[in-house]
C-alpha cells in the first residue's frame, strides 16, 4: 500500500471502463516491444514513513556538523525563527510559478518585495525574482554586459573572485565567442592601475568588468575610481557582494556599478552543503529590458486595483526560444521568500547591526591570531567577516586540534584553486560566534603551532 497513490481498486475499474480498455497494460501497448522494460526496477520496494525517516536519519547522523569558522561563499548566520515557519506554509511551498496572477498574488507580492529589498541593499532600482545562485548570477550579468555592447567580447574578471565563480564563467562562456581576461591581484586585492592598464589594452572590445567585494580572501576591494574608469572605457561595471556586507559597506550603486550580483544564502538560509540558496541581480534602469529570468511588476486589474504580475516575459526563453540570451526558466522562489522574510524581520536597524557585528567578530579573531599568535595576515587592510592568514606549520598539524575540538576552522584557498600558495588559510567569523568560541579557536591554534 502506497499512501501517495489514492485510488481504490473499484475506482480503477470504473475508470478503465470509461476509457474503454480492460487493463492499464493496454494503455502502454504502443511502446515498441524492443524497448519495453520487462522486469521490475532493480530497486528496493516501497517503505513506510517511519522506516524511510529512520534511514534518512542514519545518513544525517553520519555527517559531522561542526562549529563553523568556514566561509568561502556559504556562512553560518543567525536565522530568525519566523523564517522557517513562514516559508513552510504549504500555500507557498506547493505552489507553481505564478503564471495565473489572479490566484497567485501571495507569491507575486513576496517576489515584488524581494526585488524591492534587493534594490534597497544594492542601491540599484531594477531587480529580478532571483537566479539559481551567486555564481551563475555572475555569468548572467556578464551576458548582459556583452549583449549591451555590440562586438565587445572581452570580460575583465578580478583574480580575487571565488574560484568556483571563475570555473562557472569558464564553463558558461567556453563554447561562445567570449574571452575572460583575469585582472591579477597584488597581495590579495586588485589595484586600480591593473584595471586601467587592462582597459587601455583592450579598449572597445571590453564589454564589462566583474569584481567581488569582499573578495575570496575576505578582503574589501577599494573600488574608488573603478566606476569612472570602466564607464570612460564604455564598458559596464559588475560588482558581486555578500549581501550582509551591504548593511554598512559601500553599496554597488555608490561604487557606480551598472549591475550588482551575489548569493543570498546569508539572508536566512542554512549552509546546507551548498544549496539551495538564490542568486540576486540588480541593475540600472537603462539595462532593465536585458535583465534575465523572472521579473514581477506592479500593474492594475480589471477594476483598477493594484495587482502584481510576471512581466517582461518576452525576453524569456519560452518566447524567444533560440534567440534568447539566457535559458533560465525558473527562479529560486522559496529561497527568495526566505530572504525577503529575513530582511523584513531584521529591518534596517538589524541589517546594519548584523553587518557591524560581523566586522567586529572577524576583527577580534584576526587581531588575536596576528598579534598574540603571530600569524601573518595575507591581505592586510580592511575585511568584512572573513580574512586570510599564512599557516607556518604543515596542513595536518594545523587541522588536527580543530578536528578533535569539533571545529570547522576555515579552508585552504589552494583546495579550490591549485595556483594558490598552499600555506594560505581563510577564516570566517560571523555574528553567531561568541567570545567563548573564539577562545576555543585560539586554544586550538596554540596547540597546532606548539
Amino acid at each position: 500500500m502506497i499512501p501517495y497513490l489514492p485510488h481504490s481498486e473499484a475506482e480503477i475499474e470504473a475508470m478503465l471502463k470509461k476509457i474503454g480498455v480492460s487493463s492499464i497494460e493496454d494503455l502502454f501497448s504502443d511502446i515498441p516491444e524492443a524497448i519495453r522494460f520487462p522486469k521490475p526496477l532493480n530497486m528496493p520496494d516501497s517503505l513506510a514513513e517511519a522506516d524511510v525517516f529512520s534511514e534518512m536519519g542514519r545518513m544525517a547522523d553520519m555527517n559531522k556538523t561542526k562549529l563553523l569558522f568556514t566561509g568561502g561563499g556559504q556562512y553560518d548566520h543567525v536565522i530568525p525563527s519566523v523564517v522557517p515557519h513562514l516559508t513552510g506554509r504549504s500555500e507557498f511551498v506547493t505552489a507553481y510559478t505564478p503564471y495565473q496572477p489572479e490566484m497567485s498574488q501571495g507569491i507575486l507580492q513576496v517576489l515584488f518585495e524581494f526585488q524591492s529589498a534587493i534594490a534597497e541593499i544594492t542601491g540599484l532600482p531594477v531587480s529580478n525574482a532571483s537566479l539559481y545562485d551567486g555564481h551563475t548570477a555572475a555569468s548572467e550579468a556578464c551576458t548582459m554586459a556583452i549583449n549591451a555592447r555590440r562586438k565587445a567580447h572581452i570580460m575583465l574578471v578580478a583574480g580575487t573572485i571565488h574560484p568556483h565563480t571563475w570555473t562557472v564563467l569558464s564553463t558558461y562562456f567556453g563554447d561562445l565567442d567570449v574571452k575572460l581576461v583575469k585582472l591579477n591581484e597584488t597581495a590579495g586585492r586588485v589595484e586600480l592601475k591593473t584595471l586601467i592598464a587592462a582597459l587601455e589594452k583592450d579598449g572597445e572590445n571590453v564589454a564589462g568588468v566583474l569584481v567581488q567585494t569582499p573578495n575570496f580572501y575576505g578582503a574589501l576591494e577599494d573600488l574608488n575610481g573603478w566606476g569612472d574608469a570602466v564607464h570612460e572605457a564604455g564598458a559596464k561595471l559588475i560588482i558581486s557582494a555578500h549581501p550582509l556586507s551591504l548593511g554598512v559597506l559601500t553599496s554597488p550603486a555608490e561604487w557606480g556599478a551598472d549591475i550588482a550580483i551575489g548569493d543570498t544564502q546569508p539572508l536566512g538560509l542554512p549552509p546546507y552543503f551548498g544549496g539551495p540558496s538564490a542568486g540576486y541581480i540588480a541593475c540600472d534602469k537603462s539595462m532593465m529590458r536585458r535583465l534575465p529570468g523572472r521579473i514581477v511588476g506592479e500593474t492594475t486589474d480589471a477594476d483598477g486595483k493594484r495587482a502584481f504580475v510576471l512581466t517582461l516575459q518576452a525576453r524569456e526563453q519560452h518566447i524567444k526560444r533560440e534567440r534568447a540570451t539566457s535559458n533560465i526558466c525558473s527562479n529560486q522562489s522559496l529561497a527568495a521568500l526566505a530572504n525577503t522574510i529575513y530582511m523584513v524581520a531584521v529591518g534596517p536597524g538589524g541589517f546594519s547591526e548584523v553587518s557591524e557585528r560581523n566586522l567586529d567578530a572577524a576583527a577580534s579573531l584576526r587581531k588575536r591570531l596576528t598579534e598574540e599568535l603571530k600569524l601573518e595576515d595575507y591581505t592586510g587592510g580592511a575585511v568584512f567577516n572573513e580574512f586570510t592568514v599564512k599557516i607556518p606549520v604543515s596542513r595536518e598539524k594545523w587541522l588536527i586540534p580543530f578536528e578533535n575540538a569539533g571545529i570547522a576552522p576555515g579552508f585552504f584557498p589552494s583546495d579550490l584553486d591549485s595556483s594558490q600558495p598552499e600555506n594560505l588559510f581563510t577564516i570566517a567569523v560571523t555574528e553567531k560566534r561568541t567570545a567563548a568560541e573564539l577562545e576555543r579557536y585560539i586554544e586550538c591554534t596554540r596547540e597546532a603551532l606548539g
Binding site: R150, R289, Q313, A314, R315, I319, K320, R323
Partner: protein, 127 residues
C-alpha cells in the same frame, strides 16, 4: 487585411516604402495583429551597417518577441523616436508608423520582394 498598394512586402511581414535610395521600413497590419499589444521596440544604432537578413530591430509584445530583419543592405539612416514612449502607435496604424530606414547600398536587393497583390495572396495561402 489592409494591404496598401504603393509598398513592397517581405515574407517576414515587413513593408518597405522606397524613397530614392532610402528604404523606409515598418511591419504590416497582419504582423501587428499577430504580435498583440506592442510594449517595446528595440532600435539599432544610427549609422549601423547592416546586411540584408540581419536582425535589425526587436519588437516585444506582452507574449512574444519578434525580430524585424533588414530587407536590404546599407546603413541605418533614421529611427522613429516616437516609438520609445508610444510603441503602441504601430498597433494603431501599422502602415502609417515607420520603424526605421536604411540608406541602401544595393537597391537591386529590392527586386525579390512582393507587391501588394503578391502579399495578399501570400497571406491567403498562410491561413
Amino acid at each position: 487585411m489592409n494591404v496598401p498598394e504603393n509598398l513592397k512586402y517581405t515574407e517576414s511581414h515587413e513593408w518597405i516604402r522606397v524613397e530614392g535610395d532610402v528604404a523606409v521600413i515598418g511591419i504590416t497590419d497582419y504582423a501587428q495583429d499577430a504580435l498583440g499589444d506592442i510594449v517595446y521596440v528595440e532600435m539599432p544604432d544610427a549609422d549601423l551597417a547592416v546586411t540584408k537578413g540581419d536582425e535589425a530591430v526587436n519588437i516585444e509584445s506582452v507574449k512574444v518577441a519578434e525580430a524585424v530583419y533588414a530587407p536590404v543592405s546599407g546603413s541605418v539612416k533614421d529611427i522613429n523616436d516616437d516609438l520609445e514612449n508610444t510603441p503602441e502607435l504601430i498597433n494603431k496604424d501599422a502602415y502609417g508608423t515607420y520603424i526605421y530606414s536604411i540608406a541602401m547600398s544595393n537597391p537591386s536587393e529590392l527586386d525579390g520582394y512582393m507587391d501588394a497583390a503578391g502579399y495578399k495572396a501570400f497571406l491567403e495561402a498562410q491561413d
